[in-house]
């Protein structure tokens, strides 16, 4: 087994895979272990970039870039935005009130890990249900599967996101036409005129 490791490390793909693996696991552990918000957030974002490396290694360029755009460009940026409500330079004191939950989650993670490592035993039987089409780009290939086989889940996800978006607008947008910094009584239409008059003075 150790010889296999060494030989696979000699190839470019193998080396890149192990490099990305160690870096990803290392960075995700920093995310979990660190008591500093900034360290956790930065390492989470960096690890998400490195995860896209696996997609690139497998030739799935499109999914790799989507991974970067969605997770790094949007999701974690929004986490960061939420973290601005805290003093990010100070360490956090964690309160651990329920050790049963910790025990349960830890045990389940261990179980998943064992299953993951045991999975290669059956890897010889695995066949691609939707193999890549020759001569077609990555984006087209994803599109073909998405809009034929997985059309219903895709549409359900779209509806879910729409519901979330409308809910967000309703929650946040009750007084969207009133500016907080200006007088709340002023009607929105008259506001611009008042601004112009202020400038004239």
């Amino acid at each position: 087994m150790f010889e296999n490791f060494i030989t696979s490390l000699m190839t470019v793909e193998g080396f890149a895979f192990y490099l990305f693996s160690f870096l990803t696991i290392g960075l995700f552990s920093v995310t979990v272990m660190s008591k500093n918000i900034l360290y956790s957030m930065t390492s989470l974002a960096a690890a998400m970039v490195l995860v896209s490396g696996f997609f690139f290694l497998l030739g799935a360029d499109f999914l790799g870039v989507i991974q970067i755009i969605v997770y790094v460009g949007a999701v974690i940026a929004l986490y960061a935005f939420a973290m601005m409500f805290f003093d990010a330079t100070r360490d956090i004191k964690e309160k651990n009130t329920n050790s049963f939950v910790v025990f349960l989650l830890g045990g389940m993670s261990a179980l998943v890990l064992v299953l993951m490592f045991a999975a290669p035993i059956h890897s010889n039987d695995i066949q691609a249900l939707y193999p890549m089409t020759e001569g077609v780009g990555n984006a087209q290939d994803v599109g073909m599967v998405l809009f034929t086989k997985y059309l219903v889940p895709f549409e359900v996800a779209a509806v879910m996101l729409l519901v979330a978006m409308i809910a967000g607008i309703i929650l946040a947008g009750k007084k969207m036409n009133h500016s907080i910094t200006e007088n709340m009584e002023i009607d929105n239409d008259a506001k611009d005129e008042i601004m112009i008059q202020k400038d004239k003075e």
Partner: protein, 342 residues
């Protein structure tokens, strides 16, 4: 140059040389860009601009460079030191990685008389991905972490307000950039810069700007916002937030933010030139000159707009993005889709 269809094989040495060229020239261009910016602004405001160092102030670049490199690198006492130090690197690195996937300079073969690397073919794109546009947009999107982490790590109120503005502005205008560029992508049916260039190879009349004028204007506006150019440069608006995320930075770390910003300006110019204005003409030998001129035009346009337009307010910025630009962008995509289907 004529035989662009029979390109020699790209070796890793060629890619390495290309990378070094991009790093060297774009970093130098960032310095030269400041000089040009100051001169153009000065002439538009009936001033002379930098005049004292060298002829026409040309050596001002060297003076600025010496100042940047030798200035003390100050790290505030209460800042999160590691993140504070890393943040400018993120801005510069993502900007240059984005430039790695766009065709910037012409391809050439290193002459044989140079030892070791003679005869190596240097490609025009360091990494020719077939999803180039998405990659560049994604990299520019991750460039957001530079200002964001800088602002959050420095324990400074102006910094954190600047970082918050960065996050809002970049996230919002990314949506516009992506939607604007989606319409041309649907027409061409590819995400590769080379395919875009081939699609518009039939002269000026085949440029996508004539078919997609709305997308072009939307992309330019969003590009200005994403590179933090003047009508939308609220991240470091002196009158309100001192320097925003860059308040506590000095010396070369500040310079890296600066270089990253200029590199992003060039990237946006390159994307606009290739996607909307026909790109490089692969069949003629002066094709690369034309794309350089187009890139230079967009760079000049950014300076021109800076001299001509005032800042907007932050609430106007958000209103403009979500209530004006996004509906137009979605409509544009919808109409394009209907026309493509018909």
């Amino acid at each position: 140059m004529e035989a662009t269809h029979l390109l020699p094989e790209v070796t890793w040495v060629g890619v390495l040389i290309k990378t070094v060229i991009i790093l060297a020239i774009i970093s130098a261009l960032a310095g030269f860009g400041t000089f040009i910016e100051r001169k153009v602004l000065a002439f538009m405001q009936r001033r002379l601009g930098p005049m004292h160092v060298g002829p026409y102030g040309l050596l001002q670049i060297a003076a600025d460079g010496i100042k940047l490199f030798t200035k003390e690198d100050i790290i505030p006492q209460n800042a999160n030191k590691l993140i504070f130090m890393v943040a400018p690197l993120i801005t510069a690195a993502t900007a240059f990685i984005a430039l790695g996937a766009v065709p910037v300079f012409p391809d050439f073969t290193v002459p044989d008389f140079i030892p070791f690397i003679g005869g190596t073919f240097v490609p025009s794109i360091a990494s020719d991905l077939n999803i180039g546009i998405l990659f560049v947009l994604g990299m520019m999107a991750s460039g957001l972490y530079g200002p964001l982490l800088a602002g959050m790590s420095q324990a400074n109120k102006w910094g954190i307000i600047g970082a918050a503005r960065t996050a809002i502005q970049f996230l919002s205008y990314e949506v516009i950039t992506a939607l604007a560029i989606l319409a041309p992508v649907m027409l061409v049916g590819s995400l590769s810069f080379v395919d875009f260039n081939m699609y518009q190879s039939g002269g000026v009349s085949s440029w996508l700007i004539w078919q997609q004028p709305v997308a072009f204007i939307l992309f330019l506006i969003a590009g200005f916002a994403e590179t933090n150019r003047t009508p939308f440069d609220l991240l470091e608006h002196e009158a309100e937030v001192v320097s925003g995320y860059a308040t506590e930075y000095s010396g070369m770390r500040w310079g890296m933010f600066f270089i990253g910003e200029y590199a992003n300006m060039i990237t946006i110019s390159v994307i606009a030139a290739i996607v909307f204005l026909g790109g490089y003409d692969a069949s003629s030998s002066i094709g690369w000159l034309t794309i350089m001129l187009k890139i230079a035009f967009f760079f000049f346009l950014m300076l021109w707009v800076r001299a001509a337009w005032p800042h907007v307010r932050p609430d106007q910025l958000m209103w403009f993005c979500w209530k004006v630009l996004m509906p137009i962008a979605v409509l544009n995509v919808l109409i394009t889709a209907i026309i493509v289907l018909l």
